[in-house]
């Protein structure tokens, strides 16, 4: 394992996260959405994680049929699916 590459990647992720938090925090203080304003956001059609089982099945197919992966939060058991 290339530790230097790992370290660079981790630093990049943390820096990006800090930047997003900082930007989000600044924006949030001024434009915070109150709990009373969240009626639409509570609906299942507005949730990114509404169907984890369906998402897992879909990613299982797409990661084995395409050369890219990621962006779905469903890492799990491997398979010899090539």
């Amino acid at each position: 394992m290339d530790l230097r590459s790992c370290f660079r990647a981790a630093v990049a992720v943390l820096a990006l996260t800090g930047l997003c938090l900082g930007a989000g925090g600044c924006a949030t203080r001024r434009y915070a959405v109150k709990p009373s304003e969240r009626e639409y956001l509570a609906d299942r059609i507005m949730r990114f994680d509404a169907e984890p089982q369906e998402e897992a099945a879909e990613q299982h197919v797409l990661t084995n049929r395409e050369g890219a992966m990621g962006g779905s939060g469903t890492a799990g058991g491997g398979c010899g699916c090539n």
Binding site: T28, A32, G73
Partner: protein, 418 residues
């Protein structure tokens, strides 16, 4: 397969009833069962293509106010035919025959989530096994709500301790002498003709979700994955060079993969609908570069009927060592690696599909079937088109599995909440 789905439904319902418990003191939870059928047919006569049945059963229950436990099982029942040798599509060495195969993969997982205020911690374990592959995956995650729950930061890490069965190529002179695995018959049985190769996978996935307005959600994040170990298809050979040698596929043992994504969901209350967009950029150390975009529209046709339609486009370059079969024959390998893997070739995919869900919620004071709060039945259909972008002789499909230009996915799901 009807027996598989029936068994899965019985298991899900039993899990739901057990977790619901008797009497007035009851846990909360849900149970779901799903069957996905993937069918990729071939244009060649006598070639069955690939068919995969993928059943899933999952259940979760809340114990007290802080702890949620989850468990589940899924499988891949695979049958089909695929060329054992990746080679040219023209000339006397043209490869046209396919080798039939069947296999079953079983995977079981369990985990828990501990919630305290605005923070939750999770841990999970999954074991998967098939005739030539075993996987142990351990996952941990953390999630926190910040700034009056307007920001959610999540971080997940998974380590796979995987084992791959391979032909015993210990005494070969060089990579051109590698022999493919003829059968999985002796795998994991300490037989001298096979070896077990390790594959370690580390995956890190951070994400940040922002409640931007009362109607708009934004989410950004990424995936970093490092694979260290045997990653080739042990059964596949590649015809390389004008001496017509067919060594086992040989891919590098180390790979770093990076993806960054951004997605948004926008509520359309006047239509009782939502619109979602997603974009993803990907790159890895094998020089595969990809871009993916998706649009998703969901709308309530009635209180109990939800329709979803979506479209997705994916475009990628090939790995630096990938060549078409004709190029491998005429030019030889690109360095010391060669592969007949379609997923490492320049290609694009187009997916479009729809899903119809029947939703039933308990009315005030009256549970469904005396136990459940919600019931869902869903039917989903996706159509996936493959476009191979390799430079081919006129009138030929020279990319890997060029005879398969589309696949269909059909999914039936059943879920209960209590």
């Amino acid at each position: 397969m009807r027996l598989q789905l029936r068994g899965a439904l019985v298991l899900a319902s039993a899990a739901a009833v057990l977790l619901a418990g008797p009497g007035p003191v009851r846990a909360e939870g849900d149970a779901s069962a799903r069957m996905t059928v993937f069918r990729e047919s071939s244009k060649l006569k006598g070639n069955d293509g690939i068919t995969v049945f993928h059943p899933q059963v999952d259940a979760s229950g809340t114990l007290g106010s802080s702890l949620q436990v989850t468990a589940g099982w899924n499988a891949d029942i695979v049958s089909g035919a695929t060329p054992a040798v990746y080679g040219p599509v023209t000339g006397p060495d043209a490869i046209s025959s396919a080798t039939r195969f069947t296999d079953t993969r079983n995977a079981a997982h369990g985990g828990f989530d501990y919630m305290s205020g605005t923070v939750s911690l999770s841990a999970a374990y999954e074991y998967a096994q098939e005739s030539d592959y075993k996987s142990h995956a351990v996952s941990v995650g953390a999630r926190g709500d910040l700034f009056d729950r307007n920001l959610t930061l999540a971080l997940a890490y998974t380590h796979n301790f995987d084992s791959v069965c391979n032909n015993n190529n210990t005494n070969v002179q060089g990579p051109l002498d590698l022999k493919p695995l003829p059968t999985s018959k002796h795998c994991f049985q300490n037989q001298p003709d096979v070896v077990t190769e390790p594959l370690d996978i580390d995956t890190l996935e951070p994400s940040l979700t922002w409640t931007a307005t009362p109607r708009l959600l934004l989410q950004g994040g990424g995936t970093i994955q490092i694979l260290d170990g045997f990653q080739s298809n042990p059964y596949r050979s590649v015809l390389v060079g004008n001496q017509h040698r067919t060594p086992q596929e040989n891919e590098p043992r180390y790979r770093q993969r990076y993806a960054a994504f951004l997605r948004t969901a926008y509520a359309l209350p006047a239509l009782r609908a939502s619109l979602s967009l997603m974009g993803r950029a990907y790159r890895d150390s094998w020089d595969v570069r990809a871009g993916t975009g998706e649009i998703d529209f969901q709308k309530y046709l009635a209180t109990f009927l939800l329709l979803r339609v979506r479209g997705r486009y994916h475009q990628q370059t090939g790995a630096v060592f990938f060549r078409t079969g004709d190029e491998y024959r005429s030019k030889g390998p690109a360095g010391q690696y060669w592969s007949g893997d379609r997923e490492l070739s320049p290609m694009h995919t187009i997916l479009f599909g729809g899903k119809l869900s029947y939703l039933q919620a308990a009315q005030q004071g009256q549970a469904l079937l005396a136990v459940f709060n919600e019931l869902e039945l869903a039917l989903k259909f996706d159509y996936l088109i493959y476009g191979l972008d390799s430079t081919c002789p006129v009138g030929t499909d020279c990319g890997p599995n060029g005879d398969r230009d589309h696949a269909v996915l059909l999914q039936v799901a059943f879920a209960l909440k209590f």
